[in-house]
Amino acid sequence: MRRARRPGRTLAWQALICVSLLSIWQWGYDLHGRLPWLVPDLLDPYFVSKPSEIFEHFLILSCLKSKLGVFNGWFNGEFGRCMARSENNLWIATAVTLKNTFFGFLTGVSSGFAAGLVLGRSDRLSAIFQPFITAVNSIPRIALAPIIVLAFGIGDTSKVVTSWIVVVFLVFFNTFEGARSIDEGFVNAARLLGASEWQITRTVVIPSTMAWVFASLTPAISFALIGVIVGEFIGAERGIGRLIIESEARAEASGMMVAVIVLMLVGVALSAVIWRLQAYLLRWQQHNFVE
């Protein structure tokens, strides 16, 4: 028998690991100067910055501090002026990236789901489209990002399209497999109780495909974010990807790290939303409860 989990102890270990890693990041390189045989030459702050600098840079990028390192006042209007002046401050960049990720995810999931359902339930259609899907799926979708930016411009549309194209296939294949592997017993039971084709789709096919669809949603949200960031790398006026490119141009590792950490937090938050939704919608699968 497994021992009962002690959440307090787990949390303590996690905190310890976190603090150790941050400490090594912060002071490790100084130690390398003195004890080169102990600490490898991996943590050069020129490339990876260090937590204190990253935090400082975060305060500046988010308009909480001025470039001179003085806190911006809220009431004297300095914060407001900074927000108005900076085209791509952290708040705007995060909002833009989130918005585009959301739309890329939404369009990708809905179109991938619909296509997967239709093709999964029709042997004929899936036979016709199978080679095309395999061919298009073999393209590394990110390679299309420059073409998409060229075609749709450096505005938001190109980011949504890039995001869509990486999400849609993922969701499509999962939905397709799910729709293929439906227990025909359920379909027959529904049919013999008088269900029409549409009612079968709604009450049997969609619910039993749900577990498959959800399995693709957590990766899909990361993919959606990747699509947007790559789109922003190639050409954008605003967004976190743009922020990274700007920092890179100025060789500011701390600026890039701020953007990366914000992306991480965004990713975690979005995944948490999906997990919550999954736990609710798939509550009948008791063993799959995520808590």
């Binding site: 027959n188 529904a190 109780l193 008088g194 009948w284 699968q285």
Partner: protein, 272 residues
């Protein structure tokens, strides 16, 4: 009494099957599963299709249920030919393994057919709770099927079929996966329901005891290709008690009599 009932006018035939054949294509070879099966079931009669596994009795039932398309032959229910792939109104089907939807609670499963028919929520709720009670599942309406035992699941599945009050009931070894004790319990449940509602039942089984307990008539299938070998009237008085009936001398007598014929088919199907 039984003889008198068998002289019936043609309108009385609820299920009428004639010249039914089915040949499956399996990896390029044609397998003749059912050969020229004809029989009819009267309104309110309980008929068991008995035979060894692979004798085509389930295939016959599934053709009547529109799940399998016959190679040839005619199936009439209340004088109307059935259409493969389209459910026949007023015909209920109970599967061999329970096909309760795992994503719906027990109550939602039972209410499924009513929902399809567009029965208003209030009436639905009432009929569901009546069914739950009848199946002894009052406390499990909000449970998901995965939380139920095999017998409870099969009772719920039975109720999902019965809630829409079908007049014809097709059952494909519905209790085949249950242990002996639970099975006899289910026989009693089914007997009580049937005695009250008097549906026309066609019940597929390979269990002679089960057929004797439940049916008015047993149609015995031969080993593949499935054909009707013999037909036996089961003349126990109603209402029956699933436990007590097995203690009567008449039960033993009929059992032995039919067992001999069934045994021949078991041997045949085994020797292949």
């Amino acid at each position: 009494m039984h003889e008198a009932r068998s002289v019936a006018s043609p309108e009385m035939q609820r299920i009428d099957v004639s010249g039914l054949c089915k040949t499956f294509q399996l990896a390029g070879t044609a397998i003749e599963a059912v050969r020229d099966v004809s029989f009819s079931v009267r309104r309110g009669e309980f008929v068991a299709l008995l035979g060894p596994s692979g004798s085509g009795k389930s295939t016959v039932l599934n053709m009547i249920a529109t799940l399998v398309k016959p190679t040839s032959g005619r199936i009439l229910i209340d004088g109307t030919p059935v259409v493969p792939g389209h459910a026949t109104p007023n015909v209920g089907y109970v599967f061999q393994r329970d096909t309760l939807f795992p994503w719906r609670t027990v109550a939602e499963n039972i209410g499924y057919g009513l929902q399809l028919m567009g029965v208003p929520a209030a009436e639905r709720k009432e009929r569901i709770s009546a069914c739950l009670k009848q199946a002894g599942l009052q406390d499990f309406g909000n449970a998901y099927p995965s939380a139920l035992s095999g017998g409870m699941r099969q009772r719920a599945a039975l109720m999902r079929t019965l809630v829409v009050e079908p007049q014809v009931l097709l059952m494909d070894e519905p209790f085949g996966a249950l242990d002996t004790h639970t099975k006899i319990e289910m026989h009693d449940v089914l007997l009580r329901i049937w005695e009250r509602e008097q549906q026309t039942v066609l019940f597929v089984t390979h269990d002679l005891g089960e057929a004797l307990t439940l049916a008015d008539r047993i149609i015995l299938f031969s080993a593949r290709p499935g054909q009707i070998k013999e037909s036996f009237a089961v003349d126990f008085a109603r209402p029956r008690n699933a436990v007590k009936i097995r203690e009567t001398p008449r039960y033993a007598e009929l059992f032995q009599f039919i067992w001999h014929s069934l045994g021949e088919e078991f041997m045949k199907s085994r020797s292949r």
